[in-house]
Amino acid sequence: MEIAAPELNILFVVLLLSVVLIIFLLFQHRKNKEIQEYIDDLAEKKKILSALWKIQQIIVESLEFREVVQRVANAVLLELGQYGYVIIVLSLVDEAKRVLKRISISETEQAKEALKFTPIPFSEIEIPLDADDNYCVKALREKKVVVTNRLSDLLAPVISEHLADRAQEAAGIKTSIVFPISSKEDSKVIGVLIFSINKGEQEITLYEKEIMRGFADAVGITVQNAQLYTSLEETKEKLEVANEKLKELDVLKDEFVSVASHELRTPMTAIKSYLWMALAGKGGDLSDKLQKYLDRAYISTDRLIKLVNDMLNVSRIESGRIEFSRQGADMHYMAEDVAEEVRSRADELGLLISAQMVKELPMAFCDYNKTKEVLMNLVGNSLKFTPKGGKITISFAVRDGMVETSVADTGKGIAPNDIDKLFKKFGLIEQGHFTTTTPSGSGSGLGLYISKNLVELQGGKISVKSEEGRGSTFTFSLPIATDKQIHEFGIYDPQKAIREEIGPGGAGIIPTAHLWEHPTKRVTIDN
């Protein structure tokens, strides 16, 4: 038979095409295989990633330490179990005991079953940190991954070689890999994560090793966070306990203060009253000596009372228990009020006290009685430190929306280094407040401290200008009362206040600046 040339061509072409097609298909097949491999690979990666994600979730969801690490170990095993991972153990360093302690363990069911027949109490194993032969310790020390095909390497010296071998066989473990876990912060190695697998070392892929490392890192973070959280919780608890104690102490302190307020004052009042009666001649005539003795007792009692009152006031100020009943107050009136009260004392001391009025002085918004205490304190100090023939002047000014009241004296003045100490608690000037024997008695060292607080708590400021040998001027400022405030709170009315107001010191301030007049310097009771 004859084959025609054109048919031959076609045949050839078809053959060629078939060959090309076959090659193409082969090529495709290989490509598909590669693609499939990639796909499988990705699927695996996805699984691992999702496992890592689950671990992240655990970290985020719960911070209770033991719970977290157990769940992590379980999650890891779940993901890796299919690869032949049989047991995963997390051991952490116990610094106090110097051992590696098993914290959590995750086993497949088979492993669990198998290990039942070998009496190794896995959870009780504590590896001493100086056991150089132990591979876990080695991993810790060298901060390197360690691999072994003998379970006994991980359990020495706690479990005998023989027993470890039996357990290894029962569970089908071929290889164990130990990963050191370090704290991210200071790269201190805090424990190990052990993977025990039923594959030989060669069968474990680099990829799997990377995944295990990934888990070890994740576990490291988890453990660190959990430990931090636990220590935070403990610290929080300790703080709460300490806080409760402080609150108790505060209550006790307040109770003490209020008991002291009452209990101390009763005998103090009795002592002072009877001394007063004796000195006033109610018990008959007094010899000079007796007069002197009683006088000194009286003055000392005065100082004692003032000191106690001052300390109680300070305690109240510091506890924040002072309340202010603020109203519009006429500072001129207050100055005259104070001047009158001290006039007889001033006369005794040969001092002139006066108040300089200012036209149209606005009202100050303040608690009248407490502010009066401040003024009395300043005037009292001037009386103490101004020699005979001197002058004490109360004056006023308006500045920056504040009403300023100044007490100027021609007294001894204050040394520049002492000025800083003035307004502090017991920040005394050296020239002995405590040695004074002036009739008005005490410098408790607290007067200016209390005054400063009373002024500042009402929104004002207090300051001093002084020149040694020339005199001092103390100035305190208080906000000007706005029309709204006057409308809402009214103006201090001495007539209304005397009987209805709560205490000459308002809520809590004991009037220490008040001076009991000395009984022998005063005309005795009428008739």
Partner: protein
């Protein structure tokens, strides 16, 4: 006729001091050392001035005022003055609402000032 005063104060020394002060001025003074005795006497009444310490054993000063408000005294009484040692501001406020006409801070007054205050309360009306 001399005016009659009831002093209810648990501290013996202070109580006797006030008694002495008023007696020497010609007033008739009765005393009570605790709240129960004080309440009984106050309810019996007939005093031109009641001086009542707030802190008392058995029954406190405010309770005496409550008794008086609730039951009323057999014979009418004059003004009520509370005695306090400070630190009892809220209590004093309540005292006013229970009928007290005023209060005195024991530790702040000299004996003659105490006398003066008592007389001021007696003099009103």
């Amino acid at each position: 006729m001399a005016q009659k005063i009831l002093i209810i104060e648990d501290d013996q020394f202070l109580r006797e001091l006030y008694e002495e002060l008023m007696t020497s001025e010609g007033y008739v003074v009765e005393t009570a050392a605790d709240g129960e005795e004080g309440s009984k006497k106050a309810l019996a009444g007939g005093y031109d001035l009641l001086v009542v310490d707030i802190m008392l054993p058995k029954k406190d000063g405010l309770d005496i005022l409550r008794d008086l408000k609730a039951k009323g005294s057999k014979k009418p009484n004059g003004k009520i003055v509370l005695l306090t040692n400070l630190g009892q501001d809220a209590v004093v406020k309540e005292g006013f609402s229970l009928g007290a006409a005023g209060y005195l801070i024991k530790s702040a007054l000299t004996p003659d000032q105490v006398l003066h205050e008592f007389r001021t309360f007696l003099a009103k009306e």
